[in-house]
Symmetry: C2
Subunit: 349 residues, 2 copies
Amino acid sequence: MKKFDIYEDPHRRFNPLINEWVLVSPHRAKRPWQGQKETVADDSRPEYDPECYLCPGNVRANGEINPQYTSSFVFENDFAALKQEEIEFEESQDATFFKAKPERGISRVVCFSPKHNITLPEMDLPTIADIIRTWQKEYTDLGNVDYINYVQIFENKGSVMGCSNPHPHGQIWAQSSLPTQIEKTQNSLKAYFDKNGSNLLLDYLEKELEAKERIVIENEHFVALVPFWAIWPFETLIVSKRHVTKITDFTPGEVITYALILKQLTAKYDNLFETSFPYSSGIHQAPTDGLEHPEWLFHMHFYPPLLRSASVKKFMVGYEMMGESQRDITAEKSAQMLRDLSDIHYKTR
Amino acid sequence: MKKFDIYEDPHRRFNPLINEWVLVSPHRAKRPWQGQKETVADDSRPEYDPECYLCPGNVRANGEINPQYTSSFVFENDFAALKQEEIEFEESQDATFFKAKPERGISRVVCFSPKHNITLPEMDLPTIADIIRTWQKEYTDLGNVDYINYVQIFENKGSVMGCSNPHPHGQIWAQSSLPTQIEKTQNSLKAYFDKNGSNLLLDYLEKELEAKERIVIENEHFVALVPFWAIWPFETLIVSKRHVTKITDFTPGEVITYALILKQLTAKYDNLFETSFPYSSGIHQAPTDGLEHPEWLFHMHFYPPLLRSASVKKFMVGYEMMGESQRDITAEKSAQMLRDLSDIHYKTR
Ligand SMILES: O=P(O)(O)O[C@H]1O[C@H](CO)[C@@H](O)[C@H](O)[C@H]1O
Ligand SMILES: O=P(O)(O)O[C@H]1O[C@H](CO)[C@@H](O)[C@H](O)[C@H]1O
């Protein structure tokens, strides 16, 4: 009988953060593609676009005028999915099948730069560090609101990721409940911490630094790697090497090395297919429920959809929705491809 | 304080099948859309396309020639994600973080019709009934393979759902493990059955038939409804009214009423935006592990991505990937829209 070869044979891998499996089909990467091609976004944009509702000085949907901001700029989302209003609520009797609860929260938009035509990897380090300090301030301010227990910082980049405006920006949705993915992650981190008295992600990171094959970038304080259980073809995880549970714990020095790894990782992404690489990214960190959370480790997920070129993405559809996530290239191969790429953006070389 | 109004206020709903919440933001449906528009597929196709690798008599990627089939036609997927080969395997020591297992399986393609230019709602009842009988045969044959414990039948329809060929077809991936979503569903169904001595989905269906507001279609043996916890804007669930755990238990009469509800539901979908409506659908039913599964009830999920028109879809991205699924229109409103539409396809009226 043939011996199991993880680089070649179909297999499943287990994600201990959310207790889910992913199906890996290494041999399937060679499949020809006759399906939908994404339109490659035209990146020739002006530095200022009079039609853009995020550019400085322009009018937004609700009639407000953006200030002449010069670094990052935060405002309340004009079409927020969450509202701040407190709602009176009694649990219904049919709560097994018709379980619903009002949810309170605040949604904000974070413009990364006044310049309409720039993305993270093209920004200089001080600009990226300024974005990180803005995230720190927002985590503090929103986390201090009495009913807010989780602050979700994220970015949708590229029209293929549902981003409706190419002006560089991210969002923050802060809310009273722990969102599903956070609750799952917290349960796993907590169970591990209670059992082993140590931090799941720090212990994992140690093993990854020994194994080396999934590491993409390492600096003094941070590591970017393709997790063993990655779902998206070029999914990565940025982890703090020090036991830091939330973004506000970073020293000024760590803010700079975090900015550096963000710049280098996103530059590698753009270099992969010489295109502005679409992704959704998000920070996972300790809830703001007032409790200590030693089980948490600050980390940031990048979920990019592209698979084989600037126009061919991986579709998480039928089998993936009904059965489980599936990937066609191993995490090790993806990590190697990203590792071998220059971290200098192709447009600035 | 304002009283909770489920049709207006932001809230979360709980899905007891997989124990996950969804964030519902009814007020957000009015948000303007400046982002990516999907290209509307051109449906003027010939009945036979010499370039199509699924049409009768044509050559496939592996050199095989399709027979001159006249009803449905099944073959092994030429680029299968799973392989049948048995693999020798020893669990590694690092199994906490690097847990992987070989996975065996069989992937098949099911052509629904020899006609290249037809979709489910445009087919006549005998043709749809023939597809259902093919699914029954495949469930039996694949389920009888000793190492196969689950048979996932699904369809990706439309290029926006990663479908690489418009010829009407679905797929079957049959494998040794229970896929993640099936394992979650089974755990919930089992826990409910053990606690209440009854079937979760049958009990749920009873409540939905009383409430009426989420029902889309009801016939003698089946109901199509928008589940209370639906994620996708026009997500639906087809449920059997009788306690049937698997597709092979349906009587010839039930095969016809199942064909009918499939035809009517997909016709309503096409009528919604007068376009060939994209979706991923999939059947969830009892595993083929040789055990009795009284906790199961045969059901079929439809996950369609369109939100507001033939070209504007819902993106499950940043917040949804990092936090939890989110929707902008209530399940009740979607159900009403689908219910009010004709079940006669707009092209045949
Ligand atoms: O097998 P197909 O139709 O080529 O591929 C499609 O369906 C598969 C099963 O859901 C997915 O894994 C692929 O990403 C998708 O493009
Ligand atoms: O808020 P935006 O950028 O208009 O919207 C985008 O991000 C949101 C948060 O991930 C999603 O709910 C939307 O589906 C997506 O289009």
